[in-house]
């Protein structure tokens, strides 16, 4: 026997193709054509559906035409409402991003470029369905007509802040709107959503749950716990991976995206998995509708990867020009979700450039007026916005002797 020849091993560290100073380059990617992906029956087995995890469901082409079996055929009024919610989300983000720059708050996170995900999904879900968002789904609250002024109060931690100044700006909560309290620890909400869905099924309820997380946090164990439990107990839940290409500065390859898709994470769990153009309002709506119907029919969970692009920085504390080409967002091959729905509405004769301009102006004016209203109550750092007592409340249902003593100490 000849001795075995061994090469020195090499450690692979994933790196993106482009960095600051390079030309944006998405040339290696290929997608199915709009309208080309078939739509399976909602009771299709996960095994039969494997190919959907590697494809891309597209309805809108880049000229605004809606094509193929996933076309949800929504009426024009619903489409205009979707457009309005997305435009309002963008206007709100723009205003609050600038408010942070003006020192009115400590922190803000835009959803610029990925508005279709939260808005289309919320519209496709029922009002009573429970949402377990990550930190970039403000579009859910906006599409459920939550008062913008209350969002601003939270961001400013002022006296009207529903979270009493206890949460980082943007970490909203609203039980009556089916919006779970946002956590700073990533992916924790996903297995919680599975538990909520199990409880709904346990109770013979009709409501389903939906959870959102970024592609980066699919690496967390919590995501895999969620997938296991969702699969085992056939929980009525939709698990949404928003693949916006970046986890702060790390490109999606660091989370495993070099080797497979994020939708494909569902294949090993036997969970129906769809991969969808996240900048295509109609495709996101249709995929969500499909998954919701599946869940409501006791057919179990669906994983949806929303393929999109984070148009802005991770947060106001981030500067993406330090790690990615500056004009990469403009080169994104799947366009902008608002522009694409606008083009579609115009192409079917239900919208015009003038109306769109007016919508944008109205949204900007609405957030400006609301902003003044919120600022009148106060911005971040105003002393005495919250009582000292509120610091000790809600740790438990009732304050125990320790908290009462500590409260007294603070007051004396």
């Amino acid at each position: 026997m000849s001795p075995r020849k061994s090469n020195a091993l090499e450690l692979h560290i994933p790196a993106p193709r482009t960095r600051p100073g390079d030309k944006p380059d998405f040339s290696g990617w290929s997608f199915p054509e709009p309208g080309d992906t078939p739509r399976p029956d909602v009771d299709a087995s996960a095994v039969e559906m494997r190919e959907f995890a590697y494809g891309l469901i597209r309805v809108l082409d880049l000229k605004g035409a809606a094509l193929g079996p996933w076309h949800p055929r929504l009426d024009a009024e619903t489409l205009r409402r979707g457009l309005k919610y997305m435009a309002l989300t963008r206007a709100f983000d723009d205003r609050m991003h600038r408010a942070q720059r003006q020192g009115k708050t400590s922190f803000y996170m835009q959803s610029f470029g990925e508005e279709a995900v939260a808005v289309a999904q919320t519209m496709a879900l029922d009002r009573g369905d429970m949402c377990f968002p990550s930190y970039r789904q403000q579009g859910i609250l906006i599409a459920r007509d939550y008062p913008l002024v209350d969002m601003m109060h939270q961001i400013y931690s002022n006296a009207e802040d529903p979270m009493k100044g206890r949460q980082l700006p943007i970490m909203y909560s609203s039980k009556k709107d089916g919006f779970f309290t946002v956590s700073g620890n990533l992916a924790t909400q996903v297995p919680q959503a599975v538990g909520w869905a199990m409880a709904s099924a346990y109770s013979g309820d009709t409501r389903i749950a939906a959870a959102w997380l970024g592609e980066g946090s699919t690496a967390e164990g919590d995501f895999h716990a969620a997938m296991t439990f969702a699969s085992v107990y056939r929980a009525p839940v939709i698990i949404n991976v928003v693949n916006n290409q970046y986890a702060i500065s790390s490109f999606q390859g660091i989370a495993g995206g070099e080797n497979t898709t994020f939708a494909a994470r569902g294949v090993g769990y036997g969970i129906a998995s769809l991969r969808v153009d996240g900048n295509d309002f109609l495709a996101v709506y249709a995929a969500t509708q499909w998954a919701a119907e599946r869940a409501r029919s006791n057919l179990g969970p669906t994983l949806i990867e929303h393929f999109t692009y984070r148009g802005g920085p991770h947060s106001t504390s981030d500067d993406p020009s330090r790690y990615r080409p500056a004009d990469e967002a403009k080169a994104w091959p799947l366009g902008d979700p608002i522009a694409r729905l606008k083009d579609h509405l115009i192409s079917i004769g239900e919208w015009s450039e003038e109306e769109h301009k007016k919508l944008q102006e109205d949204c900007a004016e609405h957030v400006r007026t609301t902003g003044r209203e919120a600022e009148k109550v106060g911005v971040l750092g105003v002393e005495g916005a919250h009582s000292r007592e509120s610091m000790f409340q809600d740790v438990y249902k009732d304050m125990d002797w320790r908290l009462r003593a500590q409260h007294e100490e603070v007051e004396s």
């Binding site: 979270m163 439990f229 740790v395």
Partner: protein
């Protein structure tokens, strides 16, 4: 009144609550059909169906997280972590989530869940099946930590935890599951049936959280203990002839400060006993509390009798 072991009493508590409240359900690794590795959930699946008592995948993070989601929905889940030594994959969900959801949502959402787990040494489990992690939970604002020492207390306290509207950590001293081991290794452990606290009512009753129990009155020394160490402390008091008052804390958070102050003010001396390692153990908190609240009554330094700062209880 039937005589029960601690395992039977815990089973009876779950049985009582599953019967009373359709919002109560229980699950954990091997907790369904098999009835749990320590048999605490035995026959519950048979009686209430798999929907109310079921097996979970081996994923403590998932067990805790799904229970949180269920509690947020409005149920009262009781989860079993097979050994307290296995709780760490669930730790983030308990510390960052369960403990904080009421606070961070300004009471919009609440988490009425109970986490049951056997803990402590003495069962030849080696260093991976003998840990006493109570201080990792008592340190966390938003959680309550409860440890029974007898069958009667185990049932009443577990029912109180299930009915509590906050997340509770319920640690079961597995060394005394089947009998009140008192540290005397030279003689066999007497069965629970010979202990008065094994008389357990069949039906519903509660022992309020935050209330300690003076299990032995004495004038010269206060011993603060919980779980298995209550029985060890009682035996030590008896063997030494010291007129010691033994307090079974029962609830670690919120601790019954009044009972502690009352006793130490009377005796002027305090010894704290726990199985867990010493450094930053719960005894450190008790030492500080006694010092803060009873300084002028103390006639001697407070002493701690604890596990060594080593990882292994001998198998």
């Amino acid at each position: 009144m039937p005589s029960m072991t601690m395992i039977q009493a815990l089973n009876s508590a779950l049985d009582t609550m599953l019967d009373r409240d359709p919002k109560v359900l229980t699950f954990g690794e091997d907790a369904g059909y098999f009835g749990g590795v320590f048999k605490v959930t035995e026959h519950l699946q048979e009686k209430y169906g798999a929907r109310r008592c079921f097996d979970a995948p081996i994923n403590e993070c998932g067990i805790a997280a799904t229970a949180i989601g269920m509690a947020v929905y409005g149920l009262r889940p009781v989860i079993e972590i097979q050994f307290a030594d296995y709780v760490y994959p669930a730790y983030d969900q308990l510390v960052s989530e369960a403990a904080r959801i009421r606070y961070r949502s300004a009471a919009d959402y609440t988490v009425p869940m109970t986490v049951r787990m056997p803990y402590g040494g003495g069962i030849y489990g080696g260093q991976t099946h003998s840990q006493s992690p109570e201080a990792l939970f008592t340190h966390v604002a938003g959680l309550k930590t409860v440890i029974p020492s007898t069958p009667y207390d185990a049932k009443g306290l577990l029912i109180a935890c299930i009915e509590d509207d906050d997340p509770t950590i319920f640690l079961e001293p597995k060394r005394v599951y089947n009998g009140p081991f008192d540290g005397r290794r030279d003689r066999p452990v007497s069965p629970w049936s010979k202990h008065p606290a094994s008389e357990v009512p069949e039906g519903y009753y509660k022992i309020p959280l935050g209330k300690a129990n003076v299990v032995r009155e004495g004038a010269d020394l206060t011993i603060l203990a919980y779980g298995t160490m209550v029985h060890v402390a009682l035996a030590a008091a008896e063997d030494s002839g010291i007129d010691a008052e033994v307090i079974d804390l029962r609830t670690l958070v919120p601790v019954d400060i009044e009972a502690i102050v009352q006793s130490v003010s009377k005796t002027g001396r305090c010894v704290i006993v726990h199985e867990a390692t010493r450094t930053s153990g719960y005894g450190a908190e008790l030492t500080a509390l006694v010092q803060e609240h009873c300084f002028y009554h103390l006639e001697a330094p407070i002493e701690r009798v604890t596990g060594y700062d080593a990882l292994s209880a001998r198998a």
